[in-house]
Symmetry: C2
Subunit: 244 residues, 2 copies
């Protein structure tokens, strides 16, 4: 590992006695490189401690090797301020960063506002500045049609967490309705009949799905879930239903 911090592809090429392009092919696992030459180049890379400059790579029309993870600012900060972990956010860091690293990628977290207008502007800014190869949308942004449309228009690949049936996205989700159904069913099986439901924020797609599951709980062994008040306000949104 050399002391010099600015070892370029040309230095490697010279050391290995090949052209710059050949080194590039080795780096990018390109074909058309004789194994012998490949080894020689690889050896030069290792001994020089060469690391490709990501900025230059992107400039040359290649990938940025950056994945942008979008999180809701308010929600995230509230959790942090409260000193409690960020549920799946931590899990995402856990798995996402590890996988990114394995692929030579870097995961970049950014906080954006909940409201569509500023969120859109902020997304445009980070996206424009960083030019990520892909974006990960977490709730509630994963359910935001405007953001998804924006990304789709620009052909920026994106994944949505906690959302399903996205036409232009990779969706990572679970059976929210089924889980709520099972949970309710379990309570009914225990002879409970007055079952209230405290729902998540309405701008979370999962909230509606869970409510649906809850409401479809079987009438079999027990009765259908009813409001604790006996009225029809079985479902109560948390936080007043809007201001999450």
């Amino acid at each position: 590992m050399s002391k010099r911090a600015d070892i370029t592809i040309d230095d490697v090429a010279e050391a290995a006695g090949v052209s710059r392009q050949t080194v590039s092919r080795v780096i990018n696992r390109g074909p058309h490189v004789k194994p012998l030459v490949r080894d020689r180049v690889q050896k030069a890379i290792d001994s020089l401690g060469y690391v490709p400059n990501l900025s230059a790579r992107r400039m040359a029309g290649s990938r940025s090797y950056l994945i942008l993870a979008i999180n809701d600012r308010k929600r995230t900060i509230e959790n942090w301020a409260a000193g409690r972990g960020n549920d799946w956010v931590d899990q995402m860091l856990f798995g996402g960063m590890t996988e990114c690293e394995r692929q030579g990628y870097h995961l970049l977290f950014e906080l954006i506002d909940t409201e569509t207008e500023p969120a859109l502007r902020q997304l445009a800014n980070v996206s424009g500045a960083l030019r990520p190869d892909g974006v990960i949308l977490t709730p509630p942004h994963s359910d935001n049609a405007a953001l998804c449309a924006w990304l789709t228009e620009r052909s920026i690949p994106f994944a949505r967490i906690g959302h399903r049936d996205g036409s232009h996205s990779v969706d990572v989700f679970m059976d929210e309705a089924g889980a709520a159904y099972e949970a309710t069913r379990g309570l009914i099986a225990l002879r409970h009949s007055r079952i209230a439901y405290i729902a998540g924020a309405p701008n979370y797609g999962a909230s509606a799905q869970r409510i649906a599951g809850y409401e479809q709980a079987p009438e079999g062994g027990g009765s259908r879930p009813r409001d604790v008040d006996g009225g029809d306000r079985r479902v109560q949104f948390s936080g007043g239903g809007r201001d999450y």
Copy 2:
């Protein structure tokens, strides 16, 4: 905000009827731009939705607008896997990201191993690829002389969390010894005399500082803290003392 994703500085220059360099000056708050021209350029930037490409900026010898936050892989992953938050890591996200955003910067988290050898290699890799303008070292890496030397040699500015007296770094720390001292003193004031101390991992600089504070607790009202066993093993490192 235009639909086109690839609006460059030249587009803005043309729209504003100035040269590319003038636009650059406006972006970088450079001097020597007439207020009138500045406004015209700014208006063009806004209407076109222009966002400077960070990669290009760095390529041109400017800053990368990236700050690298280094965390210990094992420790971080253990916390995540256990479902518990990452104490000050979350706090850092909280404050660090916010401040970065305010300055037009981006905070990038990376996990590296505890052992110096791989840590050094990994730091060289991310640093070489991303070319951050600065690095934040968290414990135990903030106490790792090799990493700090590496950064110093390359003139990469870095901050150390939980470390003090770094000659080439910005240090963010608290009075560890004083806190331990006060804690011990408090117990003594409560008439306790058999006070054991469970220390943090030895590769954390804070551990030694805290032990020092504990050991300097006053003999006044009570006796000096003694080992629960009556022997001289007053201090016991957690996790066996090595394998944190």
